[in-house]
């Protein structure tokens, strides 16, 4: 009789935000602190002040080598030792705007020193060399669901025997490129975000962030179940108004959560239509589950948000208290929206969801093993 393989678990996980590591970030959220500060949208080139959460001391403008590299190196020092990027130990780098700060600086200054950190492949290759990894470093980039895809791909690689263990590393650090882009869409403006709250107009904040997760068979305290994705392909920046795309995405997590009490860590950027849709569909799929979101403090860490917020969700379960939704004022979009911190001891798991351009949705159920 064949031996049943051990389940895949999160063997290690961590993040860095402007507040510090996962523990410090969680503690700051519990205290209701906000990392967002108004910064000129184009950095040294000026422009409207917009809410950005930058790493302490890091300017929005890119340097060569990038100022954010020390944050990623510091995070990488907390990885389990080993030959990452070698056969059997692949790396999945995920994110949505890494490299583009170098492109912006190159375009503005013509300084070729920025080129080696510009664009997804070149930036990742420089990082790979800086961290001493082997060549098996894949890049997944699908806007704000990128990190979820890395976790899904890593899980599948291990399930299929294509990897012994896998590292998912996600990083997104802001630049005038991405701040200017979101400002041009008018959703990044002078207002601070108030996720899941009714107000006259929506607004988002953006944040620096990086995180990692190591997945392995039979090692670690945490499981990812019901990993689901769905791509509406309805509109570049809007979801289907009836919520059907997000509902399809949540099917797998809802199936995995069947009969268990869960809380819901949503995307919650601060835009109104998306917030209402999230609250409606999460309440439908997980009746009575409290809904929380942390981008009103951390800002939206873009392609890395799924992994940064996973690390904080783990810290929430570990500590027994989850941060409520930060940002205000305004009435909550539904009775399930948790504005205050709440205890996690009475729950069996947390559903973590992210949403992206193109009507892309992703979710999973995180449980203690």
């Amino acid at each position: 009789m064949a031996e049943t393989p051990a389940p895949i678990r999160i063997a290690a996980c961590g993040c860095v935000t402007p507040f510090g590591d996962a523990q410090a970030s969680h503690a700051a959220l519990i205290r209701g602190e906000c990392a967002l500060r108004r910064v000129p949208v184009l950095g040294n080139d000026g422009g409207d002040p917009v809410p950005l959460a930058l790493m302490p001391g890091r300017p929005l403008d890119e340097t060569a080598p990038p100022g954010w590299l020390s944050s990623v190196k510091g995070l990488a020092e907390r990885l389990p030792p080993g030959a990452w990027g070698s056969p059997g130990r692949p790396v999945f780098v995920t994110g949505s705007n890494f490299g583009v700060g170098g492109l912006y600086a190159l375009g503005r200054t013509g300084n070729a020193a920025f080129a080696s950190w510009g664009a997804l492949p070149t930036c990742t290759e420089q990082l790979r060399l800086a961290l001493g990894w082997g060549p098996d470093v894949a890049i997944l980039s699908h806007a704000c669901v990128s990190a979820h895809l890395g976790l899904l791909e890593a899980t599948r690689a291990i399930e299929a025997g294509a990897a012994d263990e896998a590292l998912v590393l996600s990083f997104d650090f802001l630049s005038p490129f991405v701040a200017g882009g979101f400002h041009s869409l008018k959703i990044l403006n002078s207002e601070f975000p108030a996720p899941y709250r009714e107000r006259a107009s929506g607004a988002i904040g953006l944040g620096d962030g990086a995180a990692f997760a190591v997945l392995a068979r039979g090692r670690g305290d945490w499981t990812l179940e019901g990993q689901g994705v769905y791509n509406e392909m309805h509109h570049f920046t809007s979801n289907r108004a009836d919520g059907s795309g997000f509902a399809r995405c949540l099917e797998a997590a809802a199936g995995a959560a069947d009969g268990r009490r869960v809380w819901f860590k949503g995307h919650g950027t601060g835009t109104l239509d998306a917030g209402r849709l999230e609250v409606a569909e999460a309440s439908r799929a997980f009746p009575g589950s409290p809904i929380t979101g942390w981008k009103g403090s951390l800002g939206h860490t873009l392609g890395s948000c799924g992994l940064v917020e996973l690390a904080i969700a783990i810290e929430s379960v570990r500590s027994g208290i989850a941060p409520g939704t930060i940002g205000g004022p305004g009435e909550p979009m539904g009775p399930s929206v948790a504005l205050d911190n709440f205890g996690t001891r009475g729950f069996d798991g947390v559903v973590c969801a992210s949403n992206a351009f193109g009507g892309a949705h992703a979710a999973f159920l995180l449980c203690h093993a």
Partner: protein
Amino acid sequence: MRLFFSAMLERHIDLLFTDDAGGESPAATRDRLKGLFPPGSTRRMTTLGLLVGAGLSRVDPGEDDALVYASGYAESCALEGFLGSFPTPSPTLFQTSIHPSAVQQSLIGRQRPIREFLPMSGSSLLAFHAVRASLLMAAPRCVLCGGEERGTWLLEHGLASGRTFAFAAALTRERTGAAIGTLGISRDGGGGALGLAPFFDLLRERKAFDGMVAPGWRLRLKWN
């Protein structure tokens, strides 16, 4: 305990579309392919969006198929245009320049949802990573597509492709009567690399391949 094993992951190639635009101008590519898209929809599409979209229109991914998209530099011309639009950045070019815009331009234009969509980037191992992702997908049918478009000033800095091309292949778990080839990877000793353009050439020329494409990984491409 070491679990990494050497079994081959394999799928059958059911449909294949390749387009090597060569030295064709973006305007000529648009004119050549616009008939494949709804009237008026190609005005804001990128060259890569047109080429990838043309491939997708032929292999026609369904909602329950999986889709893997590979492009190292993606929408280089839209990126150049967006960068050139500062200090008043263009919202349209911002959206268009974001990976994986080429696929979204096509599938949003045709209102074609898809459950699993895995957009990838990379360089010397990109073809291996995209093939591995395709072979790991749970869906019985997976569409593997990709391509590049030639940049201008970004190319001078090594930050864009020097070629314009695209491909789309429908890969199935079960062999059908329409199968034209097989694509598989297996664990092996030694090292190697296979970027997207050389992989595209193998597909375009229907050329068999059996060699190392990444450290520890062999790729076999066979044609019926």
